[in-house]
Each structure stands twice: as C-alpha cells, then as structure tokens.
Amino acid sequence: MALFSARRGSGLAAWLLAGSLACLLLVLLDASRMTEERARERAQGCALVARVGLTDLALLNEARYTRHLSQADRHAAFQDHPGALEHFPSGSLAGPPRPSP
C-alpha cells in the first residue's frame, strides 16, 4: 500500500492510470454481455428481413433514392429534374455510385 501512496506524485499518477484503465476494461468486458443481448434483438430484424424480403436499412428515408440505396437506379441523384443539385444531406454523404464491373 505504501508503495503506491497517493501522497507521492508517482503514487497518485499510478492510481489515476489504474482507475482509468479499470473503467475502460470494465466497459470492454461488458461487451460480450451486450453482444449477446444485441444478437437477440437483431434476430427480430433478421426474421423480418427474411419474411418480407428486405434489401436495405430503413435509416435514410428522407428521399426515395436514399431509402433503398442498393436498389436506386444510376440516375438517382438527379431524378427530380435534369441538372438538379443534390439537396438532401444524406444524398450528399452517400457518395457517387460506382460503375458495375
């Protein structure tokens, strides 16, 4: 105990580092419990994907062409009218489609 007395600066530093490391290790150790819990929750999503035949996440539903990114046609970003600038935030973050090989 005396070796790492908080009265000495080095002891205080050791305690602070050990405490922070312990906090990080605790949340990392909790990851396996959370992973199992999330896997149970995800099973519901997977079952729905299989039941309905879904192809995309329902994450970006602000515009038609960002709702089903994997199904959108190649003119997607400009489909509202020719030369239309991309006006939805998620469209500007989704990146241009790559040509198929």
């Binding site: 929750e41 999503g45 039941r51 192809t55 329902a58 539903n61």
Partner: protein, 378 residues
C-alpha cells in the same frame, strides 16, 4: 533495478508536482485532448458498428434481385419474366416483389409500402413499423387513412405493429396484402416491382446473375453481396468524411500542444535551471517532461475512449443522429453491438498520442538542454 525504479519515481513525482502547480494550464489542454479522443473514437466505433450491423441484418436478404429497366429507368416487371428466370438451373425460387413509396403529407414522411413474402396481413389490414406507429400515434385496431393513386381515401386497419427491436429495417414500413397493394397503387395483375431469387448454391450467385442477364438483357441484377457492400461503402464514406473534418481538429490540437510545450515561462526555465544546478542532467529533465506528456496523453486517451464507448454503445450515439437523420422524419431507434478490436484501439492510441508527443518533443528537448548558469542569471 530498484534504484532505477526509485529514480523514475522521483522524476514522476516532480512531473506530477509540475502538473499540479500549473493546474489551469494543463487542465485546458487535458480537456481538449479528451474531447479529441472522444470524437475520433466515437466516429470509428460508430462507423464500424453500423457496417457490422448492416452486414449481419442483410444476411437474410434475397440472394439476387432482378429489376426491369426501360430506357435506363426502373420499370414494372411482367410475370412472364419470373417464369423465364425461374427455369434457370440453380434457382430454387423466383418471387415477384411488390413495394413502393408513399409520401405521407400528414407527417411529411416517406413510407415504404410492401407486400411480405410470408404471413401477409388480412385484406384491409396493415402491419406498421414501430417508428411510424409512434410518429402517427397508432396502435393495433386504429385506422390508417392514406390517399390511393386516384386521390381517394383508403382506410387500412392496423392489425399489428412490427417488433420495435427491428426498427433499423422497419422504421417506415407498411406491410399490406397483395390485393390491397394493387388496388392502392393501381398496379394491374401480372406486374411486379421486381423479382427476388433464391439460389441453391450461394457460390453460383455470380454465374446465375450472368445467366439472368443473358436471358433478359433489359434487366439489372443486384446480388446480396452488392447490397451489403453498398452499406460498407456508405459508412466508409461517412466515416472518412467525418475523420477528414476531425483531422483539422487533430492538427489544431497538435498546434495547441506545441504552443503549450514551447512557451516555457520564465518560472519554468528557472526551475529547470535549479534542477540542473542540483545535479539533474539533461536526460533527467527530458525524462521528466516526457513523463508529463505521457501521463497527460495516457489519461486523456483512456478517458476519451471510455466516454466514446459509452456514447456509442450505451447512449445510442446521439451526437451522430442529426448527421444520419438528415431531413428524414422517421428515424429508427436502434442499438449497436460492440466488438472489441485491439488493433483499432492501438491504432487510435497511436493516432492521438503520437501527434502530441511529436509536437512536444522539440520544445522539451530545448528545455532539457538549457544552460543552468545562463537561466539563473536571466
């Protein structure tokens, strides 16, 4: 060995005493450091988590989706196409999918109306995604009234709500029966939005896609792997974009660290001069300054990374919600599954600790080589 440890402890004692004496100065630097690590780690953890979630969820997506293209645009597919591709060797099932979009003016949201492959609702009934039900304030037994293709009101009875744990794929989903779908959108019998294929051997998917294209040149074929890669690309792009913005912050922080470390006050110079006059050599002073930096950066990294982990996996990354949400009204509630990746932690530690050490090394070296006589005479 013991003597070496005791010597290092003595140096650390002095380093900690220095940090404590200049609390205000180092506290600002420490908080900026924690914020930097927190932001960088949050972006990395969130991007990785989203990519993993998309890949796992889309494991059950159709192996191949075939669309009909007319003049380069997606068009409805006739049932004869289904018969033509169902006959291909290796295809176990070819099912016509029916889905479409509906702009719900009442809440300003885009809905996806789709006919499920299995267990469709009864005639006049719908199954609603939990996010949509929450936004419209609907529960089973309520009526959802939408306007059909001719502008007439079409009343659906909410039969059930989709499990709220599936919101990431069902936020805006309205599941309905085939007859209702055709009547609502005015789509004739024998036409489908596209086709989903099930294949016997997943390794043959690419070959089958080529066979479909050979048989139906006007088709576009999208494989499950392409769907999953789409989300890899989206989240890589977003993560890259965010990291690009944050790299400016990283550079600003390195500048701040340089400024703090190089701007030695007269008091610090005198202290170093006294230490050297008392017998400390340049190596000891360098070690003391390096210990100061190491303690500050290690503590900031541990704290910043832990906070980022809590933010992404426990709090649901509320800081990123506006970025992902954009202008969409329906934003799903979802939780990401954590994965401990040591190489990611190490690379992030190097990315944040190295610029700090690099920025402070030269000023520290200059401080360590001060001439005690000259300093004390100043």
């Amino acid at each position: 060995m013991n003597a070496w440890i005791e010597r290092q402890r003595g140096i650390i004692d002095t380093a900690v005493a220095n940090l404590r004496r200049r609390k205000a100065r180092y506290l600002g630097l420490f908080l900026a450091y924690v914020l930097l690590v927190f932001l960088l780690a949050s972006v990395v953890l969130f991007g990785d988590g989203m990519r993993r979630e998309a890949r796992l969820l889309l494991e059950e997506a159709p192996e191949l989706v075939v669309q009909r293209l007319t003049a380069g645009r997606h068009d409805l597919m006739p049932a004869q196409w289904l018969q033509r591709i169902a006959g291909l060797r290796g295809v176990t099932a070819a099912e016509g999918r029916l889905w479409g979009y509906y702009h719900d003016a009442a809440v300003g949201a885009n809905l996806t109306l789709q006919v499920p492959r299995e267990a469709p609702p009864a005639a006049g009934g719908v199954h609603l995604g939990a996010t949509l039900a929450r936004l419209r304030g609907l529960s089973p037994g309520d009526v959802l009234s939408l306007r059909d293709h001719a502008g007439r009101p079409y009343a659906f009875v909410v039969e059930a709500l989709l499990d709220s744990r599936s919101e990431l794929v069902s936020a805006d989903l309205v599941l309905l029966g085939e007859a209702d779908f055709r009547a609502f959108f005015g789509i004739a019998e024998g036409l489908y939005t596209d086709a989903a294929l099930r294949v016997a051997n997943p390794l043959e998917t690419r070959t089958l896609a080529e066979k479909v294209l050979a048989r139906l040149p006007a088709a576009r074929v999208i494989s499950r792997e392409e769907m999953r890669r789409t989300y890899d690309a989206v989240f890589n792009w977003r993560q890259g974009l965010s990291l690009m913005v944050l790299s400016v912050l990283l550079a600003a922080f390195a500048l701040l660290a340089w400024d703090k470390a190089s701007g030695l006050s007269a008091e610090e110079r005198r202290e170093i001069g006294i230490l050297k006059a008392l017998g400390w050599d340049s190596g000891d002073v360098l070690a003391m300054k390096l210990w100061e930096g190491a303690l500050l950066s290690l503590l900031a990294f541990l704290l910043g990374y832990t906070l980022a982990w809590l933010h992404v996996y426990y709090a649901g990354a509320p800081l990123f919600e506006p970025v992902l949400k954009g202008w969409s009204v329906l934003y799903p509630r979802f939780a990401l599954a954590p994965e401990v990746d040591i190489s990611r932690i190490v690379s992030l530690a190097l990315l944040t600790v190295l610029p700090y050490v690099a920025a402070t090394l030269v000023p520290v070296w200059r401080a360590a080589t001060l001439d005690p006589d000259a300093v004390m005479r100043e």
